[in-house]
Amino acid sequence: MRVDSACIKIENLKHKEDFPFARLEGVGPNLAGWGVIETCLLLPQSLCIMAGPSACLRHSAFMAHARGFTDRFYMLCVPELDMTMGRHLEKVEKGIRDIAARRQEKVIFLIVGCPDYILGTDFTGVIERLEKETGKRIILGAMAPITIGLKDSPFTSAYSSFYGFLKHESRQPDPEAVNILGTFMPLSDSGELYQVLKNAGLTHIHQLPLYDTLEQFSQMANASSSLVLHPLANGLSDRMEKEMGIPATFVPTSYGFGTIAQQYGAIAASLGRELDTAPFEATARMAAEPLLEKLKGKTIAVGCSINGSPWELASALLDFGLNVDTIFARGTFKPYEWQIIERLREAAPHTRAYNVSHPSMCGETAPFDHIDVAYGVDAGIFCARAANVPLSRYQEQKHGFENTVWMLEQTCEALEHPVSNYDWIYTRNFLI
């Protein structure tokens, strides 16, 4: 089968180099979430202006339209020739000045693309002049996929740049304050993590997506600890830890009860407080039981466009005694995922992992016709006969044991009232 060239059995996956290499970018549906624009605009009172060739801008414009960011997003089209000759700097400067004059926002992200990155265009003078004239902070960022794998991703860099708004804050450490970093949809204050933290006396819980002003955001400088729910925020939390003394605990969105219990243990150790999570775990286990019954005997595939790690979800489902047949993944592994893959090698050595970016995968659905449930819209493309459960970060953000129950409820809902993969992608915009 053609897809075999994009496949590896988990038992043979020991190093990054083992994973099937895509010689050309086969356009797997695998880059969902966290565009650079939406990351920048998480910062309150900010605007994003992107400058570059129309082709590059068009890509980002779709995301802005799909997520409703058009009001805070502008594009300056610059031809390649102008960029090569360095003639675009004056035009970009004027463009930003004009936009800044009619907007109230205090921060402007200037995002450039691969061409400026490769040409090494120096925006220092432009930014200095603009900051002086407009009184606004101008932050330079790059949406440059040409740097993939070599440097922090553009999204991580954008998120890390928020540090600039915290570092000068005079800290008044608040032992009852904790930051939650790495959420796009905010966690609900009636949700499990909030309850657990509040019960432990942490009454000031800061989340970036909830803030309307930079002043509110600056409260994050006072927190006693940060919880990082997505690797995107590791750069920011590292700097806050090293330079401001705010310790961070990496507790990525997970689905396995064992993993979640361990994460609560890590949070408790970091905060130096007891966390009473037992009632939440007991309630979740009770709620999960009948839902898991409905999944017994189903053949499952897990994709990489879910909120969280596909390896961790696969591991969680296996722990529940379910049949995980296939994992769709990228060749970019997070360091913490290797430990999970090691466990999978023991628990399910014959599970197959496919590189969704491999050109041999395009249009291939027949090899996956036996899959009953596909997690992630990327898995749903290949598993045409499966109930598709997006678990998208744009649906809901949950954390802790309740996240597992939510995942199982979503699965049962998809089995009972399926929504087509096409609709998840093209109507609900869950692929970008």
């Binding site: 086969g26 129309s54 093209y426």
Partner: protein, 402 residues
């Protein structure tokens, strides 16, 4: 420098290459960093969904740009194109290949000798209008695959320029194709809509030089029409037959008859000043329909891609179903479009739904998706423009209660 806020920048050169070649079972390699091909497929090429590998990215990284690594990429492209059994390989340039001066023509020669497939490059960069990319792609394909026919097929035509970025889903072109076939003409090929029963989509392309006439339905087909006239002596007409009058006029041109004289509009509409924004050939077709079928006295066109070639005299051109007026404009600027749309006298606008965000005064807005603007956002929207179906669609919206 163009500034966009509420609109999207239009699709550019290598999007046009993809659109022109997508249906021919080739491999289009977007020679740039990761992400370029991804976005074309996810956003601009809804045909990508569960389809074979057609538009792929080279996935250039920083070190590739510094070191070149040309031989690595040539090997990668050769391996993938043969593994996937594609019928040809097209290399499309991007801003990065343009800036670093990648020799894609040299790549093509090497790849052709290694793969035995037809391989060609299309010189695109990243800022040129998409019809330019599509035109170059059609020309490259024609130069590779078209040969002088033994004889012409009587009463036969090709349709040129029916690329999805301009004409949308292939279903939207069906009324035109049916009208032509219904009038006794045979369709040799449609660029780029596969005809039913074609197992090799390149077969129709190879046979295209045997047609007696070409019908150009978007500016993306003009360069190919000129080439086919210069090389094979095939004359052409230009126009999108929108509505009843458009349909009748096109069929008259095919029969080599004079156009019927002006007649009373089929159904006068209650508007005085309409504005049509979009691809030039379709927009001028809409203008003719609004004037002749619905009696709207003033209809202005805003062509969002270059329209000069549409009005330039050319050797093989027999007729053009487009009349330029004093107030027609050619611009893809957001600010300019907003100013024209909000002129006090404008009471009806036909444009891609994205433009509605620019409208600040009351006017009838009739959605006419331009895929090069809104792509998948409006791909599934119900709309029509061609022949009778186009007339029905416009009539329903022109006479709907406000």
């Amino acid at each position: 420098m163009k500034v966009y806020h509420k609109l999207l920048p239009l699709a550019t050169g290598y999007f046009g290459v993809s659109s022109a070649l997508y249906a021919f079972d080739g491999l289009v390699v977007v020679y740039g960093p990761a992400g370029g091909a991804w976005h074309i497929n996810i956003e601009d090429e809804p045909r990508w969904y569960r389809g074979p590998a057609t538009v792929v990215g080279a996935g250039l990284l920083e070190m590739d740009v510094i070191l070149g690594n040309d031989s690595k990429f040539i090997s990668n492209i050769a391996e993938v194109s043969t593994q996937l059994d594609r019928r040809f390989v097209a290399l499309a340039g991007t801003p990065i290949s343009e800036i670093i001066g990648t020799d894609l023509r040299g790549f093509s020669r090497t790849l052709e000798s290694r793969t035995s497939l037809p391989v060609f490059m299309v010189p695109t960069a990243g800022s040129e209008p998409y019809p330019e990319g599509a035109s170059k792609a059609f020309l490259a394909l024609a130069r590779k695959l078209m040969h002088k026919p033994e004889r012409a097929v009587k009463n036969s035509v090709n349709i040129l320029g029916a690329i999805h970025l301009s004409t949308g889903k292939k279903e939207h072109m069906e009324p035109v194709l049916q009208a032509i076939e219904g009038a006794g003409f045979s369709l040799v090929s449609v660029f780029s809509v596969p005809r039913p029963g074609q197992t090799d989509p390149l077969e129709a392309l190879r046979n295209a030089p045997s047609a007696e006439l070409n019908v150009v339905v978007s500016t993306s087909g003009l360069a190919l029409a000129d080439y086919m006239y210069a090389t094979f002596g095939i004359p052409y007409v230009v126009g999108m037959p929108v509505g009843l009058r458009g349909r009748d006029d096109l069929l008259a041109l095919l029969r080599r008859e004079p156009l019927p004289p002006p007649s009373a509009p089929a159904r006068p509409a209650p508007f005085k000043h309409a504005l049509v924004i979009g691809e030039p050939v379709l927009s001028y077709g809409l203008k003719r329909c609004l004037r002749h079928d619905f009696g709207i006295s003033r209809v202005d066109v805003v062509s969002v891609t270059p329209d000069a070639a549409l009005f330039k005299p050319a050797g093989g051109r027999q007729a053009t179903l487009a009349e330029r007026g004093a107030f027609d404009a050619c611009t893809d600027g957001e600010h300019e479009a907003a100013a024209l749309m909000n002129a006090p006298s404008v009471d009806c606008i036909i444009a891609d739904p994205c433009y509605e965000a620019l409208l600040t005064h009351p006017a009838r807005f009739i959605p006419m998706p331009h895929i090069a603007m809104s792509a998948r956002l409006n791909w599934d929207l119900p709309y029509e423009y061609a022949a009778d179906k186009g007339y029905d669609y416009l009539a329903e919206r022109l006479f709907a209660s406000a």
